[in-house]
């Protein structure tokens, strides 16, 4: 168990460092990942918006899009960093909790 505790602490430290994944691309002017452009970004690249894409691209409104509050794309880096860390902690809890429950459920249904 102590081994696991050490690994969980490591994950919390990674969460606190996660804004690096926001700041470094911003400082070095690196844009979206290849193939993950927004409708606008793609329009700038190819000069039009693919019709099928326009219909389905915004099919889902995530509560924390891109690990930030909705509509805060232009917020200061400090503020974005805060939400990034909070998203990381929330994601760790959701992934850890979800997988643990799934694995427990699988092991119970095996008996």
């Amino acid at each position: 168990m102590t081994n696991y505790r050490r690994l969980w602490i490591g994950l919390i430290i990674l969460a606190l460092l996660s804004p690096l994944g926001l700041y470094l691309p911003s400082v070095l002017r690196a844009g979206a990942a290849w193939g993950e452009w927004s409708l606008q970004e793609l329009h700038e690249l190819i000069g039009y918006t693919p019709a099928g894409m326009a219909r389905t691209a915004e099919a889902w409104k995530a509560p924390l899009p891109d690990y930030a509050l909705p509509g805060e794309e232009g917020a200061s880096l400090t503020r974005q960093g805060f939400w990034y860390i909070l998203s990381a902690l929330l994601g760790i809890a959701a992934c850890g909790g979800g997988t643990y429950l799934l694995a427990r459920w699988l092991s119970h249904s095996a008996r």
Binding site: L28, P50, A59, W60, A88, L90
Partner: protein, 230 residues
């Protein structure tokens, strides 16, 4: 490499879901068969680890970003089927809560990131871990597995992007979904992962495996490596 909504046409994303369904079933059965009380927390940590690793966007200055996944180190610690299950959970949470990767593309993204990556990388690791049996050798084998595994996932994602213009082009020549052909998608995605993001993945994989061997978690790595895939 998280394919967003709107980039894949319905035939592709439905086929990807259909391909994932039996693989998810198999992963559930394999994990169930090998599940001991100790493994539920391991899989939970694996999913959380993968989630947070994917938040570290690595810049290609002036151009684009990418990230590591941790898929191969998870496959080494929890078996490739355990990796498939835990990374799938992370990808679903990313899509639902954070809009990272599309809802329609969950099947496609799981195929690339939760299946292609851990299985390819784990196979490379197993192949190299025999001749490279020292502690450093194992870490190097794992690192090469991570590098190849992430690049393989980028390759299959590039295939999915690249077939869209073949399947869906309007009469006026405009694409309906992802616009770039295979001749663009494959070099772009494979090269950036082969030369940068995959190397970061490899470094991360090697270092974590080295650490797990040093610490008492060595059993995690040792048992799987000696018992074979679960």
């Amino acid at each position: 490499m998280h394919i967003p909504d709107g980039y894949l046409g319905p035939p592709t994303y439905i086929a990807a879901y259909a391909a994932c369904a039996p693989l998810w079933g198999m992963a559930a059965r394999r994990v169930q068969a090998g599940l001991t009380a100790r493994q539920a927390p391991l899989l939970a940590i694996a999913a959380a680890f993968s989630f947070v690793v994917m938040m570290f966007n690595i810049p290609l200055p002036g151009a684009t970003t990418g990230h590591a996944v941790g898929g191969v180190v998870i496959a080494i610690a929890a078996g490739p089927w355990g990796a498939a299950l835990s990374i799938s959970v992370a990808l679903v949470i990313q899509a639902l809560l954070f809009g990272d990767g599309g809802i329609t593309a969950i099947g496609a993204n799981c195929l690339n990131i939760a299946f292609v990556m851990p299985f390819t990388g784990y196979a490379v690791y197993r192949l190299l871990a025999r001749p490279l049996s020292s502690r450093t050798g194992q870490a190097v084998a794992a690192g090469i597995g991570g590098w190849i595994g992430l690049t393989a996932a980028a390759f299959t994602a590039a295939l999915m992007f690249g077939v869209q213009p073949l399947l869906h082009t309007a009469p006026d020549g405009r694409a309906l979904y992802a616009p770039y052909p295979l001749s663009v998608t494959v070099p772009a995605m494979v090269l950036e992962h082969l030369l940068l993001f995959g190397l970061v993945e490899g470094l991360l994989t090697g270092l974590v495996v080295y650490y797990l061997q040093l610490s008492r978690s060595a059993r995690l790595v040792g048992t799987v490596a000696s018992e074979g895939p679960r």
